[in-house]
Symmetry: C2
Subunit: 215 residues, 2 copies
């Protein structure tokens, strides 16, 4: 069962040959692995070249700079996650059901693309300028998506995803739970991500609904 990379068309740039596109995917996957293990700053282009068994100069055919490498990695990964979660949130169901699907979806994406997602989650500030703004915009859209569903759980479907202080803060707390998982989760010790997701929901669901108005 080969691990698939987080796919999404890169912005701008085009690679001519299909085999090159394939190699780019491999490059980004290996880069994600190194960045996840040692951090972006501590990962050198020489490390990556060695890991991929290619030359140092050759990398610059795929990336205009080291920062561009991180940008492409984050853009593709975060873009895929947002796309998936938008589809998940769009399917019908009660607020609680949609909330459950978002939590599960996030954790499943984590399980499938751990390294890539870690690079998105903990290395966002390694980008600057326009690349940062671009990725940050995706991140913000994702937060808003989650907040709207959390708001529906708090206020019922009739609240139509309208943000409140409570829903915004609760969402930040929930993302804290979701993202901190990088620091401790091991499948053999903690069970499946689906189980973890259920435990997270059981921890916060009553708190979200506390004082809920009917309708």
């Amino acid at each position: 069962m080969p691990k698939t990379s987080a796919v999404m068309p890169a912005p701008g740039r085009r690679l001519a040959r299909a085999s090159t596109q394939k190699k780019l995917d491999e490059l980004l996957m290996k880069a994600a692995s190194l960045v996840a293990r040692k951090g972006f700053e501590a990962t050198s282009m020489r490390d990556l070249a060695k890991a991929i068994d290619a030359s140092l100069a050759g990398l610059y055919h795929y990336f205009s700079s080291k920062e561009d490498l991180l940008f492409q990695l984050q853009y593709r990964t975060f873009g895929s996650l947002l796309e998936q979660q938008q589809a998940v949130a769009a399917e019908p169901g009660t607020p609680e059901e949609r909330f459950a699907r978002l939590i599960t979806g996030h954790l499943q994406f984590y399980a499938r693309h751990r390294n890539e997602l870690k690079a998105c989650t903990f290395e966002l500030e390694s980008l600057t300028g326009k690349p940062y703004e671009t990725v940050e915009a995706i991140r913000r859209r994702y937060y808003r998506l989650m907040t709207s569903v959390v708001a529906d759980v708090i206020g019922g479907p009739s609240s139509n995803g309208k943000e409140t202080r409570k829903s915004r803060h609760a969402t930040l707390f929930i993302f804290g739970m979701l993202n901190w998982i990088f620091m401790w989760y091991e499948p053999s010790r903690h069970g499946t991500v689906e189980q973890i997701g259920q435990e997270m929901r059981e921890l916060v669901l009553d708190g979200l609904r506390r004082g809920k108005r009917s309708g």
Copy 2:
């Protein structure tokens, strides 16, 4: 109102003059500020020397290496936090009250030593070998302290802080909420940390007590 540094005797090492101890505190505080802003890898000894308006070589009178600097910073900060929280948890009260005091205490420590705590929370893996083990041991004691109080909230005081899968996982989730605050909290936008702490408790308290056995 001068910001105080997180105080705790450094392990081993002794500085002769009191003024030197004072300078060490200043050094660690400035280092925490730089590490919090740019990350440990991206912070150079030259950066620190410039920020403190001293010479590069002079730094090595206080630290045997760059890693030793990070170790001292983490050891002192995490040690202070653990000490404070042990005192807070030892005071009498219902499990809910002790839990509330721990959350508030953590967030107040965050508010007072943001940079230092960030260096502890996000740069632990920048240490290796024995320094890593030493700091990791403190971290683990802190987690256990929190877990025991969470277990009491779940099972009542009669459970005597006995860990369960639920209490361990809930504690990991809660630390996720607490630590993720570095990524978003601004006093002017989100209110005081005491308010944030109360919102966190309201989010999880019912979930913790769900299915609680009396006694």
